[in-house]
């Protein structure tokens, strides 16, 4: 399930704000008044249940995955379980399969996020500027946003399948789309892009709405062309929103699974890292090896997030300065 949180951007920013005033905190801690204590208790009383629930099915499974990743353990062969240390990691990282699927995953991520960004920006601009049909547009693009990914995958798969689809007759081609790697990946990306561009565009729309119209008017008065206004005024003023949109879509795209599962079952070299983890753990019931793949995937995702947020803070500072 996709649980990407657009609103988290606000938090990241708020944290950046907080870091500007670290001196105030210790002082406050020293003089904890009754009121503060009450507030603390109430705070934990209210936030506690959510905290516990969030932790309950994440902390243990994560620790469990890390632990199992150190074993050679096949579910159908419980007696053959043995401790192999970092052996599974060595196997994975030295396997060409892993790197190929890393490449496929990275390619899908880069292509979809790039296309979605351009397309999403266009959508956002239309939604922002069109006076008529604005409501219809917003309603229409929410349909791909809300639709089940599996359904989207089927719709696109059938459209391109030679036996069922209208796409080949439309272009007079007889390409067997799911018979080769690149065409399969193209359709997978199309489905992914169709379904998630609306999300990207809504985040960008939020950024657009944030730009004071006086800036744009001023640029107009100065004789800037539409392109200049876009580059020099619009983009710099919504850097925060852009980064949030890119970050969350990148993390989501990197974890792509549903589309691949439905369309190719991983055939023709279309496997992604999530699929690799699925195959080892669920299909092959190699719990140890699969857990290690999962851990590596998690580390990669955290790494991407970390790199983004690192760059992000800088941008935010610039944005505040503007």
């Amino acid at each position: 399930m996709s649980t990407t949180v657009p609103a988290a951007a606000g938090e990241v920013r708020a944290e950046a704000d907080r870091q500007d005033a670290p001196a105030a905190a210790p002082a406050r801690r020293q003089r904890m008044t009754d009121r503060a204590r009450k507030e603390r208790n109430l705070g934990w009383l209210l936030a506690g249940p959510a905290f516990v629930v969030m932790l309950s099915v994440t902390a243990y499974p994560i620790a469990n995955a890390v632990w199992y990743s150190l074993f050679d353990f096949r579910l159908t062969d419980p007696d053959g379980r043995s401790f192999v240390g970092l052996g599974n990691y060595a196997t994975i990282l030295s396997d060409v399969l892993f790197w190929r699927q890393f490449g496929v995953t990275a390619a899908i991520t880069v292509v979809t996020v790039a296309v979605e960004f351009v397309l999403g920006f266009a959508l956002a601009l239309v939604m922002h500027r069109a006076l008529f049909l604005r409501k219809s547009v917003r309603t229409a693009i929410l349909v791909p946003y809300g639709i089940i990914t599996v359904v989207s995958a089927y719709a696109w798969q059938y459209a391109f399948t030679p036996a069922y689809g209208f796409v080949n007759p439309l272009f007079g081609s007889d390409l067997d789309w799911f018979g080769e790697t690149v065409p399969s990946l193209v359709v997978i990306c199309l489905s992914e892009i169709w379904k998630t561009t609306p999300f990207m565009s809504l985040l960008l729309l939020a950024g657009l709405a944030q730009i004071p119209s006086t800036y744009i008017e001023a640029a107009k008065v100065d004789g800037a062309t539409a392109w200049q206004r876009f580059r020099k005024v619009v983009v710099p003023n919504m850097k925060g929103a852009i980064m949030v949109a890119l970050l969350f879509r990148t993390l989501d795209a990197f974890r792509i699974f549903d589309n691949v599962f439905v369309m190719t079952q991983g055939a023709n070299g279309t496997e992604t890292l999530s699929f690799l983890a699925y195959r080892q753990t669920i299909t092959r019931v190699m719990i140890g090896l699969g857990s290690a793949v999962s851990v590596i995937l998690a580390v990669l995702v955290v790494l991407i997030a970390f790199l983004f947020i690192k760059g992000f803070k800088v941008n935010l500072a610039e944005q505040r300065g503007a």
Binding site: T76, L97, P162, A163, A267, R284, L289
Partner: protein
């Protein structure tokens, strides 16, 4: 709140069965038609047990995954399961199936055709009672074969002859090139027909790291050669590398369809297609069948083998009742019923003597023959990995190379099983 209500009724429904006294059995079925078999058995049981059904996903691999996970979880509700025979060894080895006793084994083997029987045994013990068998035949259009001067009905033909005939007549050869179990069936039949095997002879029961592949051989190369010849020729139907059984049938039904290897269910499917007007009336008059093609001229082909066995889950709480239910399900009467309703060939020889069956399946002799001379897929607790590797190594068919494919697949197979590579 409505949703909670639903939850409550579900729970109530689950608990309700126990009060009636008769043990309630769940049978995980692989085809919705088996509901009718369960109904018939319930009637026959007269309250000795209540057999309920739960439908599994539609293809072999997810069926295995579902059952495997359920049994790994020690699920006591898995009383009966319809199991694809190649996966039986894995389940048996893990202790997920209740083995049949020697006595039961003898009883359940009686009159069973060789192929289905062979694939129901793991290390000489029966873990699945043969319920139905399946085998592929060569289907062809009489007009096309005649034009090419080929008569598969008179004497067995080879793949090369079929290929040549199709090329000559500008028709297609329907085969299953999709990367799933159907591809494995094709590869295994080709390799076995050429006198080879996928696993080395003493590897069938070996520990994972000791398993050796026999694919890097003449037979493995022949399989690659035939597959790539078809895939790279004009006789390949469009979308060969994603074609399963139904796509093959569609290609065969098309005007330029000439030959096809497929399971006998296609016969009833042709009939339905005629009724629906998808093919012209009398389409079947031009259709004939023959034994699966040979790889080496003069050497009998090893026919592909499929089917389903009925096993008892190791964690069932109603062992006796489950055994009774298995007896009923695999009885020749039920096998006949299943053959007529689902189109799945019976595993027991006597069913083929039934006039009703002979009328519905004019090719009954070819089926019986196919089930007798069949080559089961490798019997190994690691079959899941074996088939996964072969499906990768021999796919897509148009990229196969008789020089490199067999060795590469064999090496990959051994590396995956000894844990040095991932699948």
């Amino acid at each position: 709140m409505g949703a909670l209500g639903v939850a409550a009724t579900v729970v109530a429904a689950c608990g309700g069965g126990e009060t009636s006294g008769a043990p309630e059995l769940t049978w995980y079925i692989n085809n919705a038609v088996q509901v009718e078999i369960a109904d018939a058995c319930n009637e026959e049981a007269e309250g000795a047990y209540v057999l309920k059904t739960s439908l599994l996903p539609n293809s072999a691999a997810p069926q295995r995954e579902q059952l495997l996970r359920r049994l790994a979880a020690g699920d006591t509700t898995v009383d009966l399961l319809s199991l694809d025979p190649p996966f039986m060894a894995e389940f048996a080895n893990a202790g997920f199936l209740r083995p049949f006793t020697a006595e039961e084994q003898e009883e359940l083997s009686q009159g069973v055709l060789e192929g289905p029987l062979e694939q129901s045994l793991y290390e000489d013990t029966m873990f699945s009672a043969p319920f139905y068998g399946n085998t592929q035949l060569l289907w062809y259009k009489k007009s096309v074969a005649e034009e090419a001067g080929l008569d598969p009905a008179a004497a067995p033909v080879t793949w090369d002859q079929v290929i040549e005939a199709a090329e000559q007549t500008g028709t297609t050869v329907g085969v299953q090139g999709r990367r799933n179990e159907s591809l494995m069936v094709w590869v295994n039949a080709l390799v076995s027909s050429a006198g080879g095997s996928i696993l080395a002879e003493d590897s069938q029961g070996a520990a994972a790291e000791d398993v050796e592949s026999a694919l890097d051989s003449e037979a493995g190369a022949e399989a690659a050669r035939i597959m790539s010849t078809i895939a790279n020729s004009d006789i390949a139907p469009a979308g060969l590398s994603t074609a399963g059984e139904e796509e093959s049938r569609a290609a065969f039904q098309a005007d330029d369809g000439g030959f096809m290897v497929n399971w006998p269910y296609v016969w009833t499917a042709f009939e339905a297609a005629e009724a629906a007007g998808a093919v012209e009336e009398g389409f079947r008059d031009d259709i004939a069948w023959a034994r699966y093609p040979q790889v080496v001229e003069g050497e009998a082909s090893a026919t592909p083998l499929g089917g389903i066995g009925v096993s008892i889950g190791a964690y069932t709480e109603h062992e006796e009742a489950a055994l009774e239910a298995v007896r009923c399900v695999r009885s020749p009467e039920r096998q006949k019923q299943n053959m007529l309703t689902a189109g799945e060939p019976a595993a027991s020889a006597e069913v083929y003597d039934d006039p009703e069956v002979q009328e519905a399946f004019p090719m009954y002799e070819a089926i019986r023959e196919g089930l007798t001379d069949a080559a089961p897929r490798p019997i190994s607790p690691y079959y899941g990995d074996v088939t996964g590797v072969v499906q990768q190594g021999y796919h897509p068919p148009d990229a196969l190379d008789e020089q490199t494919t067999p060795a590469r697949t064999a090496d990959f197979l051994e590396a995956v099983l000894d844990g040095s590579r991932m699948l």
